[in-house]
């Protein structure tokens, strides 16, 4: 049997779409939703309720529907969509859900993106108020965005057959939309739900761009887009949702909101059933009754809770043979699955058996709730309107206006007038005075909704009187909650879970508040409504992640030499956002084998690495020395031009923050280096001090990190290699001393060569512009070929420096370590009156004798490699926890140079313990280790001069 009307509806009856639901095949038409297509086949049962397993159907026609949850399986599986918002396409497969969806384990192939949009006036909602608001603003010349969640404009007009100004409302809508779309500076966004309102006119909207195309969706188009709209003024024309009345058995499929049934009729050409009882507290449901009666539905009865039925509408019903029973309510329903009958009794009448009316449909209207979620998100206060039985916007906001049914106004012309006023005011406030009056449409509608009775529930079986249909929360649950002593709506929401489901209480929230107020005997006006929080409707995680996925998730930073490392087969380490070569394995080598080879080659001959990621900051100005003296723990102002000094930087708390070298380029110019990970932090640190504390200093700092490619050339033969590529440079130890620098040409390219060493070996650091990095690197490789020059990565760099006891910031330090702890008291000036961190050194904690200090650890068994991160204990047996810990292993390696393993560690009173044996728990055993100085290789420093 079909419930499709012979004519009418905005569907393309000439095209047939095939789909399946719960495995059964059906057909529908373009323009249908999954819900309308199912209802056209008389399918009302969509799923089962989450807790009680009761059958559930379609209650509303739009995104406020609490029950029609489905899992769409094609083209890609997506959980928890509402059948009422899934546009039908050929090949759609879906199944009903019991309140819980399923995530696909396949990767989602769809694109999601975001786009920024700026406008003067944003109008949310393309019903009559929104359309008039947008058109008024557009005619003023303002930049306007109109966003609406439906696939076409019209709002409430989509669900009625009204005439506006003596022509079908669709024509009026089409004219307005056509003018908007042809006006420059106007963007009309269909299928776009404004879901979040934030500060300063920031509105987020989700546009569903290709879902309705099904399998035909182009793979290159973003399936969904988050519009990040920044607007100067906003007009919220978000309309109103019809509110049900709660009664026993109100959850059966076939029980639907009256206006939604009317929408299914007029928009989709679908009848909700064959025989309907209409239960209302206001006038608007009469139109549903009349329209459905005229379309062939047997309206068994109109039950009006008000003592008197409206005479004109009652007469219209009578003219169609429809009985109206005023002062009555639906007290219950019957049916195993779908509703089969309604029980009707006088409201508050004498006890007794109610009338049973056979029907397959019950249409309900309990009045209208303005859609105030976005207004509330914009921090607008709400006010209870007793006449409406709903919360309405309770104040004017500076840049957000509300127009139309969202204010509680339900007359079409009045809504349009509000839209016109709001649109004109918004445009004017944004600097666009009026540009032409928009005529207000006048409707021929027979029903206005205003004159209603506020009725939250009909007394009856409380255990089957559902307040939140999705959460299976009943009047019993609410009364149980109030009976426990709970008073706050927020508590009751949490106790009952009302309003926390997929629909976030769009139809249940107000009723719950009403029932609670009745139960507690308080005025609703005194109740604080629960908070509306973004998003207004659910938004997929992928849409919010947008394009920031995969390689675009977080930028990978690479040096100019990166392509060479890749070609050479390097394996990389992430250091901050940088990719740094960790080691360069040769055939079949693992990490340890490669690193031992790289270390050996470097210590015995020559190696080189890519040091370009080190931060480099040019510091210029007359006060540059004074400035650096404040930032570093040692003195930089006394450094001579041409020379280099190592320095440590501390935070105000005296803890080591960074280290690096400082070279004096000229009298008023230094270049400082930072660690890779702290480059930006150190530059920001410098700027912060200069700008906020010492603006009087004549100093400017400029990052040159990426201007330079930096190549440490390391090992006893480095001098020979450098000499070959820098013929103009006297590389002798006498002419080019340790901790000095020279400007010269390397491989024909201007270069700055620094004689510094992080390995203890004779070493040079060659700096050329990043453009010349590869060419110079290759020239060095060629020149070093005869010495077996070996590129090495960060791992070898770590081993070489650890053998020398040089700490790595972030590995040996953790924000609790001072320079003194690292054995670097020599780098802390005693002469300077002050520098950042100095005062903190005098605190009690810094003078404890048992501070953790950097030492070396040599496992008694020289083949045992301590895992980094191991703890150090004092005793050779582990006592019951908690065990006193002396410190931990910060670095640990096998060493080619030492012919054994070794480690660095922070150990309590470490320097006093040198020579002692302590223990390191490794898995279930204790490894004895000897505490040593941190410098383990070439203690005399003989190697650095070659």
């Amino acid at each position: 049997m079909t419930f499709r009307t012979p004519t009418g509806g905005s569907i393309d009856r000439n095209t047939l779409l095939r789909f399946t639901f719960d495995g059964r095949a059906y057909t529908g038409h373009p323009g249908d939703t999954l819900a309308s297509a199912l209802l056209a086949h008389g399918v009302h049962e969509i799923g089962r309720s989450v807790k009680l397993g009761r059958p559930r159907g379609v209650v509303a026609a739009g995104s406020e529907d609490p029950t029609s949850l489905v899992q769409v399986e094609t083209p890609f599986s997506e959980p928890m969509l509402l059948a009422t918002t899934v546009e039908l396409y050929d090949g759609l497969e879906a199944r009903g859900l019991s309140g819980q969806g399923r995530l696909s384990t396949e990767p989602d192939p769809a694109r999601y993106d975001a786009k920024h949009e700026h406008c003067d006036v944003l109008v949310v909602g393309a019903g009559p108020a929104g359309l008039v608001a947008a058109l008024t603003a557009a005619r003023s010349g303002a930049r306007v965005v109109l966003a609406d969640e439906q696939n076409r404009a019209g709002g409430a007009l989509l669900g009625v057959d009204e005439y506006l100004d003596d022509r079908p409302s669709a024509e009026w809508v089409a004219d307005v939309v056509a003018e908007l779309k042809s006006t420059p500076g106007v963007l009309v966004l269909e299928r776009t739900t404004a879901f979040g309102m934030y500060q300063d006119g920031f509105v987020l909207a989700l546009q569903k761009r290709t879902d309705h195309l099904g399998f035909a969706a182009p793979a290159t188009a973003a399936r969904q887009r988050v519009w990040r709209i920044r607007t100067r003024r906003t007009v919220l024309a978000t309309g109103a949702h019809e509110r049900p009345v709660v009664f026993a058995g109100n959850d059966r499929p076939g029980i639907m909101l009256a206006s939604s049934a009317r929408t299914f009729l007029h928009r989709y050409g679908v009848l909700p059933g064959s025989r309907a009882v209409v239960f209302t507290t206001n006038d608007s449901a009469y139109c549903a009754a009349i329209d459905l009666a005229e379309s062939g539905v047997d309206i068994a009865l109109v039950v009006d809770a008000r003592p008197e039925a409206p005479a004109r509408l009652a007469a219209e019903c009578a003219a169609r043979g429809v009985e109206v029973r005023a002062g009555h309510v639906v007290t219950g329903t019957g049916g195993a699955g779908r509703v089969t009958g309604a029980h009707v009794a006088p409201l508050g009448g004498a006890p007794g058996y109610p009338d049973s009316v056979v029907c397959d449909t019950v249409l309900v209207s309990g009045g209208w709730n303005p859609v105030v979620g976005l207004f509330s998100q914009a921090r607008g206060r709400l006010r209870y309107d007793a006449g409406l039985g709903a919360f309405v916007p309770g104040e004017e906001l500076p840049s957000v206006a509300v127009a139309g049914a969202a204010t509680g106004e339900l007359d079409l012309t009045a809504c349009a007038r509000q839209g016109r006023n709001a649109g004109a005011a918004a445009a004017a406030a944004a600097g666009f005075p009026s540009g032409g009056q928009v005529a207000l449409p006048v409707s021929d509608s027979r029903c206005t909704a205003r004159s209603g009775l506020v009725l939250w529930r009909v007394p009856g079986d409380e255990a089957t009187s559902f307040v939140d249909l999705q959460r299976d929360a009943t009047v019993s649950d609410v009364l149980r909650a109030t009976g426990t002593g709970l008073r706050s709506l927020e508590h009751i929401k949490r106790y009952t879970t009302i309003g926390t489901a997929h629909d976030q209480g769009k139809t249940s929230g107000m009723i719950a508040a009403g029932i609670v107020a009745e139960a507690l005997g308080v005025e609703l006006a005194e109740q604080r409504p629960t908070t509306f929080r973004p998003p207004f409707t659910p938004v997929s995680f992928a849409a919010l992640a947008g394009r920031d996925r995969g390689e675009l998730h977080d930028p990978v930073r690479v040096t100019a030499l990166h392509p060479w490392h890749v070609a050479r087969g390097a394996l990389f380490e992430d250091v901050g956002q940088w990719k740094r070569p960790r080691y360069y394995p040769e055939d079949g080598e693992d990490l340890h084998a490669a690193v031992l080879r790289e270390c050996k080659a470097t210590r015995q001959s020559v190696g080189m690495m890519d040091g370009s990621t080190l931060g480099k900051i040019d510091v210029q100005g007359a006060d540059a020395g004074e400035f650096l003296d404040m930032l570093y723990t040692n003195v930089m102002s006394t450094l001579k031009v041409g020379r280099i000094r190592y320095g440590v930087m501390c935070g105000l708390d005296g803890m080591v923050m960074d280290d690096g070298t400082v070279i004096r380029v000229a009298e008023q110019r230094y270049v400082v280096t930072t660690t890779t990970g702290n480059a930006a932090k150190v530059l920001d640190w410098m700027e912060e001090w200069l700008q906020t504390e010492w603006p009087h200093l004549d100093v400017h700092c400029t990052s040159v990190t990426e201007h330079w490619a930096t190549i440490p050339l390391v090992g006893p033969r480095s001098r020979d290699v450098l000499a070959a590529v820098a013929p103009g440079l006297d590389v002798s130890n006498e002419a080019f001393e340790f901790m000095t620098w020279r400007d010269t040409a390397v491989a024909g390219v201007p270069a700055r060569v620094c004689r510094i060493s992080f390995s203890g070996e004779l070493a040079y650091e060659i700096n050329v512009t990043a453009w010349h990095g590869i060419a110079v690197w290759e020239a060095l490789m060629a020149a070093g070929e005869e010495y077996g020059i070996t590129p090495y990565g960060t791992e070898t760099m770590h081993v070489l420096r650890a053998e020398k006891g040089y700490p790595i910031i972030g590995q040996e330090t953790d924000a609790t370590v001072t320079p003194q702890d690292l054995g670097m008291a020599w780098a802390v000036s005693k002469k300077k009156a002050d520098f950042i961190g100095k005062r903190s050194f005098a605190r009690a904690e810094n003078n404890r004798p048992d501070r953790k200090q950097l030492v070396g650890l040599l496992p008694v068994d020289p083949s045992v490699l301590l895992p980094e991160g191991s703890q150090v204990v004092e005793t050779d047996r582990v006592p019951q926890p908690p065990v006193r810990m002396l410190g931990h292993v910060t670095s640990s390696y096998p060493s080619a140079a030492l012919g054994r393993t070794f480690a660095l560690a922070l150990v309590r009173s470490g320097r006093e313990r040198i020579g002692e044996t302590v223990y390191v728990p490794v898995e279930d055993s204790l490894v004895p280790v000897t505490v040593t100085e941190s410098v383990l290789y070439d203690k005399e420093g003989a190697r650095r001069d070659g």
Binding site: R547, Q620, T702, H707, A747, A770, A779
Partner: protein
């Protein structure tokens, strides 16, 4: 011995060119770029005269001019902070000239030529593409030609110049250049297929 320079996006040349006709995108490598910090108005004026281009006095703009170093642009990067941009190979000479012009005024001049690379983007869709990652209003009424802003494009910092009706220049830190190129290519995907922009199929 000579050494040929390599630009950060040399491997992207074909990939960026393939974005036509959605956008004409190309790296403009090896430009001379100098970061100049100076606040003294006389020194600023002197530097402008020396280069043949007045330094921008309005925040978030750039100026162009011609002088001894040919066409030169000066970008406002911050109060008292400018980026002087000229053709390749002029950085050393310009540094000297600007340093002379500043004289004893407080300030600094730093060769930052290889610190950033330059990407030019042109075409009617350029604003649409950039709007996928740039939160600044690029409408001509808000960002006319001559605008120069430092901002974020997706997850990298950029200097963005509006150079013409539908023409933009993006300066990006060299280490982020690959990310920028990948991002631009990705953002153009949306516009590559003709059916996407046909009305009635996919939303605006």
């Amino acid at each position: 011995m000579t050494a040929d320079p390599t630009s950060p996006l040399h491997a992207w040349t074909d990939g960026l060119a393939a974005l036509a006709p959605v956008l004409a995108v190309a790296e403009r490598p090896f430009r001379s770029q100098l970061t100049v910090r100076v606040s003294d108005p006389e020194a600023i004026a002197a530097a402008g005269s020396a280069l043949g281009v007045p330094f921008p006095s309005t925040p978030c703009t750039f100026t162009t001019g011609s002088g001894p170093f040919g066409d030169v642009e000066v970008l406002w990067l911050g109060p008292g902070e400018f980026l002087v941009v000229a053709g390749p190979g002029l950085q050393i000479a310009i540094e000297e000239v600007v340093r002379d012009a500043l004289g004893t005024a407080r300030g600094s001049v730093v060769d930052t030529s290889a610190q950033r690379t330059t990407v030019v983007l042109e075409g009617p869709l350029v604003r649409d593409v950039l709007a996928h990652g740039c939160s600044v209003d690029l409408h001509p009424s808000s960002a006319p030609a001559g605008t120069c802003v430092q901002t974020l494009l997706a997850r990298t910092g950029i200097v963005l110049q509006v150079t013409g009706e539908d023409a933009f220049t993006v300066l990006v830190r060299s280490s982020f250049a690959g990310y920028l190129a990948a991002w631009i290519c990705d953002a153009c995907v949306e516009y590559l297929a003709a059916e996407v922009t046909a009305p009635g199929t996919v939303g605006a």
